[in-house]
Amino acid sequence: MPRTLIFAAVALGLVAVPMARADDVNDATEKAMKQAAKSVAPFVVKIETSGGRETVGGGGGGGPGGPPAIRKGVGPTSGLVVDKDGYIITSTFNFANKPSDIFVTVPGKDRKVAKVVATDTSRMLTLLKADYTDLPVPPAFPKQNITVGQWSLAMGRSLDPEVTVVPGYSRGVISAVGRIWGKAVQTDAKVSPVNYGGPLAAIDGRVIGVLVPASPQGEGETAGVEWYDSGIGFAIPFEDVLKVVPRLKGGKDVGRGMLGFNPKEPGEEYNVPVTIGSIASDSAALKIGLKVGDVIVRIDGKPVPHYSALRHTLGPKYEGDAIDLVVTRDGKEMKFDKVVLGSANTAFAQPFFGILPMRDDPELGVEIRYVYPNSPAQVAGLKVGDRVMKIAPVGVPQLVAITGGRAQLAQVVRGLPVGMDLQVLVKRKKEKPDDKDKEETVKLKVGALNEELPEKLPMPSTAGKALEKPKATPAPGGPPKPPAGRNKPADEEKADEPKKDGDEKEKDDTPTGLLTDQVNKTNAREYWMYVPDNYDRNKSYGVIVWLHAAGKGGRDAKDMKKIWEDYCDSANFILIGPKSKKNEWTSTEAEEVVTTINAALKPYTIDRNRIVVHGMGIGGQMALYLSYHARDLVRGAAVSGAALPGPAKDNLPNQPLAFFLIAGDKDPLLKEIQDTVEKVKAKKFPAIYRQLKDFGKEYIDQKTLDELCVWLDSLDRI
């Protein structure tokens, strides 16, 4: 071995002496790159569009919660020939502004009208077809040989309108492979709207990939555009592109492949194994019989120790792809071979029983306050005043007793797949006080939560015993042991019982009325709040978090109180108005706002099912942001004149979220707000939309306000 080294050193020395002039090294590289670009040039297509919007993304008008709206350039963009019969692949970003017409020019050929064939919504590629024949297809650089450090040229046709020239390129190296959940390679060449859709070429003239904007966090056609020209650019490996082209040719969009479950611990990316927390109806997971509590162990032979690994393994898969899956259930390994993945569109419909429960009721079971028309509960013959005592899926001999009140019932129902048949033991309402208890078991098919709004809700809504411990089951032989993790009474609704040092301090801890000029001690954020004067700590209170409009911070407290106080007093709500530190809200304030709200609410009895963010304009934008980024807190967003900046997040059964969206038909954001409604409905969030005639940016009308009140009072529906 040492001898080898000596020889190597000698060899080094020998060649170092007659070394060519240093400059020539760069000459050769520069020349090789030009040659590579020249050989790829004939495959790089110029794309032009007509019509479409000026700006894309940003939910219109910027605001918190996403990148601001970006102007979409009008210049040409790039594509790449992928099939001799006129099929051209490009970045979906190039059509983010929804142009009405698309024209393409293949070098050396005439300009043609092109049509969108289909879009790969996982990798954000769009396949175009134009009337060409016998086009050459570029050679792919083998994906497995793509190496960090190798030269890469990001090519595009935006800068020079001449399609006969070699497209301009930015020079860089491959920075990483397997990025964006295994879908993209990364380069430090400058990637931007100037070359999205164009090729990332290797120095040997083969195509490494197709340039796209991408972000590991975001989804949608503009995700990752904020990183343009930053030295962090992405390309989809060309081999993968060529693989998906035949599917796209079928004319149907192709999306991410999903098993269709949510993990038990959604925030844990790395620390815990992936345990199934809930299963979407109509999902691959449901079809093969996965169960809540199953732990994912391996996919395609690769270990999946945590959620991040799962995302890396499943990230590159499409709907319809098959995987080999191993899970453990009750300590035993179970194998599922050739599991066909579902689409991302099997959104979680929130399972629905169809009742509103009586609140703050320590008695056994759950009293029904209201039965939704045409709901599973109504079909099953449940009535107001009945008590739901026990439930179980049909066929299970032992029914589970509801000992933890409405919180437990809600939690159990959330874990059930839509369409499941249940047996429900109800104690019927006594017609007369001295009637005998009448219990019967009814069948109930779990439904999907819809956005129907009751006209009027019966009062009272609360039994007024929030601080009493729930009664234990008087069954002989001790209380039944509920299955672990399902219905621990520890989760019952008094989790938010006011924290107090002693009874004598109680008065001071729970001031009522309009409390202005409040300041959070840890982060100095100002807020105001209104607590009903008839506050009763034996009732649980919902919370309306008002996010003020631009420049109104704190000065709108009295106005808001005037509008809302009667409702707060009767329906048991607390109104709180945090102030932004600047004129407008920014997403960076979210954390402090949540801390402030939590601290301010601590002394009060809070109903965690009815915490709602509410705002209009920029405040509404902030409300939407909080609804997605403070999901353990927020259960509803009532928003006027604001739109979601990006795609809607997934519906999570354990963190239900409902939307009440309002737009004036004169609001310039109308289109974006309508898009928002579509987006959240596509993810099966319950959403109510009201479009107000002749309204621009004003606060809502009386009719909508009345509806909003009913909605707020019904958020603890089960």
Binding site: L12, E54, G168, S170
Partner: protein, 373 residues
């Protein structure tokens, strides 16, 4: 095994050999030809510094014609750290260039400064060198972000020429005045203060002057560009038009003979008449679908049809009704234009001889950007 290793070493050798860095000499040499410019600004987002490229032994330098120069207290730091006053001799907005000179106390304007600088670019010589082409490696020298002061050399960035083509720039709502070809590079030079620095090739030849911070209106991205050393601008002086190159501007400017022209006001008429009426223009970018064709008009004679989509005029893409009118403003009666229209799934090419607008016909109103002050 041994043989393989030797072969490997052989391949590796040029890369690991010391003193092989070919940029070192060029950067050292070029850095001496750059000055740091400090002037007005520093508020409302305007930077009060830029970069200058020396072009004479007598302390003449070029920089961008920015608001940084709007001061009587212009200061430059030379490569050797000398802090000196400077004056703007003349600017040419359409080249976006200002000719300035280092001022030596006690010397009258026009008098030799006696600086006798050794390192500068001879712009006449540099302008005659061949253009760089896309793919060429380049070096950009500038005081981006005001990192260098006094004798600290400015920052060097390396990159690649991405194109040599027309600039479609937009600063805020204003269109960029310079309409000639520029070098677009992939080095990120669009930060504050870079404007006016030299862009050179690997051998140290001056390719152009780094431009200012503007967005490319075609891609809506910040663009990294340089105005080439041999840039020209066509100026109208009354009825005469005259083409002036950057070296000529410098030569005349140094002699005190360069006169800034009065800019002709852009023609604001609707241009030539086609007889096309479009669908109502209700969107930001309403696609220019033909809704009606006036009887006897050039459009009718050319065989255009209702529902045709006007897609290109003389090869330039027309992506909205607004862009159609903007293009047509540049035309006049009796000119012939070639329209490409989308009809069904095909593109049809039609030549139209434009006419005069019939009297009494409502002309299109195109919102023009506010006049630049």
């Amino acid at each position: 095994m041994l043989r393989r290793f030797c072969l490997f070493a052989l391949l590796l050798a040029p890369a690991v050999a010391p003193a092989a860095d070919p940029f070192v000499a060029v950067t050292e040499q070029t850095n001496r030809k750059v000055v740091k410019v400090f002037g007005a600004g520093g508020f409302r987002g305007a930077t009060n510094y830029s970069t200058g490229t020396l072009i004479s032994a007598d302390g003449h330098f070029l920089t961008v014609a920015s608001q940084t120069l709007d001061t009587s207290e212009l200061i430059v730091h030379l490569y050797d750290g000398r802090r000196m006053k400077a004056v703007v001799l003349v600017t040419e907005p359409e080249l976006d260039v200002a000719l300035c000179q280092v001022k030596v106390d006690g010397k009258k304007p026009g008098e030799p400064t006696g600086l006798k600088l050794r390192d500068y670019f001879d712009i006449e010589v540099e302008a005659k060198k061949p253009h760089a082409e896309p793919g060429d490696w380049v070096l950009a020298f500038s005081n981006l972000f005001e990192i260098a002061m006094r004798d600290e050399p400015v920052s060097v960035m390396q990159g690649t020429v991405m194109s040599y083509s027309k600039l479609h720039g937009r600063r805020g709502i204003f269109d960029f005045p310079y309409t000639g070809d520029v070098y677009v590079v992939d080095a990120i030079t669009n930060g504050p203060g870079a404007g006016g620095g030299p862009l050179t090739n690997r051998k140290g030849d001056l390719l152009g002057l780094i431009g200012r911070e503007i967005k490319n209106s075609l891609s809506e991205t910040w663009i990294n560009y340089a105005i080439p050393t041999d840039a020209t601008v066509t100026l109208r002086d009354g009825e005469k038009t005259e083409t002036v190159s950057l070296p000529e501007f410098v030569r005349l400017g140094m002699q005190g003979k360069y006169k800034p022209r009065i800019r002709p006001v852009a023609a604001s008429g609707p241009g030539g008449y086609t007889g096309i009426k479009f669908v109502p223009n209700v969107l930001d970018r309403t696609p220019p679908y033909i809704d009606e064709i006036m009887p006897g008009s050039p459009a009718e004679k050319g065989g255009l049809l209702v529902n045709d989509l006007v897609s290109f005029i003389d090869g330039e893409p027309i992506y909205s009704i607004k862009s159609y009118h903007e293009y047509m403003k540049r035309t006049r009666a009796d000119m012939t234009v070639r329209l490409e229209v989308r009809r069904g799934d095909n593109l049809q090419s039609v030549e139209l001889k434009l006419g005069e607008w019939p009297k009494g016909m409502l002309k299109p109103t195109v919102t023009l950007p506010p006049e630049k002050k």
